[in-house]
Symmetry: C2
Subunit: 268 residues, 2 copies
Amino acid sequence: MAGHSFDQAVALQPLRDGVWQGQTHPAYSGMVGPFGGITAAQALQAVMLHPQRLGEPVSLTVNFCAAVADGAFEVHARAARTNRSTQHWVIEVQQQGQAVMTATAVTALPRETWGVDEEPMPDCPGPEDCAPPAALPPLPFAKAYEFRPVASLWPEAWDGSGDSSLTQTWVRDQPARPWDFVSLACVADVFFPRVFIRRATYVPVGTVSMTVYFHAGAEQLTRTDDAFLLGQARAQTFRNGFFDQTSQLWDTHGTLLVTTHQIVYYKQ
Amino acid sequence: MAGHSFDQAVALQPLRDGVWQGQTHPAYSGMVGPFGGITAAQALQAVMLHPQRLGEPVSLTVNFCAAVADGAFEVHARAARTNRSTQHWVIEVQQQGQAVMTATAVTALPRETWGVDEEPMPDCPGPEDCAPPAALPPLPFAKAYEFRPVASLWPEAWDGSGDSSLTQTWVRDQPARPWDFVSLACVADVFFPRVFIRRATYVPVGTVSMTVYFHAGAEQLTRTDDAFLLGQARAQTFRNGFFDQTSQLWDTHGTLLVTTHQIVYYKQ
């Protein structure tokens, strides 16, 4: 199969109105089944391919209902409401007729308005001044990204020593690939579980729900091209078996392209 | 009609399996149609009433598809996937057979685990040391809450002078009412639009999508009772007609009960 492995992974074949078939891709394997980000990207891809789509993605929420098995899946996407400038999508990823992901998305016609970035890009060295990671998790999808960590991408010692869940890292597709909405949805999930960073202790985890807000339009993404993005992630709280993660992705010029949040199941 | 106006507003009558009817409530009117928080609460209420519900809410995402008209609405709630300890819900609020809100939620059986709050409650005076607001928006639902602002609840002068979107305020139902999941979903939307705070300028706005993560279990909420919560809200970016809002709600002891995010349409 030719082309970038990301393009292979998000290729969907139309089955009937609003229903596509996809295949899991070995380059995006995760801990149990595929990396969650790629399933989110595949869900959004059905919206991008839908002939009734109005405008560009503004928000996406995906709920991970069950482990995705390697092999074929269906994506069902339906425009629940179409307004003059916004559109509301309901999406389901299914295997064997069972939901493995539920999702909603909003698309909107692009507009120009007053604007300002209030959350500044952290002051940190550029990607060319950051070394590749000393350690990476033994997961195939980790090799689908090129990382230039600034702070705490992955614990170097699993000695229970952490006191902060903050990660800062430059990241892009490997090999480099121009960013688009679908690859932003995928990279939004690229940060390793906050509980590992905070505790330097391994516990079973799984993302339950992720929301992605797209602050970049297609024009902005054309300017960003395939450059590194600075990703930052941290948890606000860990309690009763769930922690949150709040994250941002900036381009090298300090423009905030994506804000994203997730809630993650953990044991112990 | 007897009882607290919030209980009246979230009262739903069963129509058939998975479908309830509700009525908009004048105490929760907003700018155009009802306050978004009350519609979110009504959507979650259908899950809370569903005979197949497993456990307590962990996350809720609501998408505001269209202005809700005053009067009757239907809530459709369906368990898309039920696992051993988690359950995934797909919800739609309809008027005249058309979606006015799409939503998803995750519920889970309560568990006790290791935990820590990483985002500290801001250092600020207690509710008893904060004066009622000097100004409030002329919206009926603003009177459904008792506010004790710490910082920038609502612009005192509309002179285009703002330079930060940060709000910090103590808040509870008015009259006071013990907190539950449904009233937390509602109060998650209580912060006035960030663009007003940042710019001290009025522009048309409307929330497009909101996600609520519940970090408090039912036991914790019993301890919180009807006390003030400290709410904090700020935007990370305003661009191309949409801004985000990232918010937290703590109890008076500094326990982080809710983290919540939204993306909001604005003009100009």
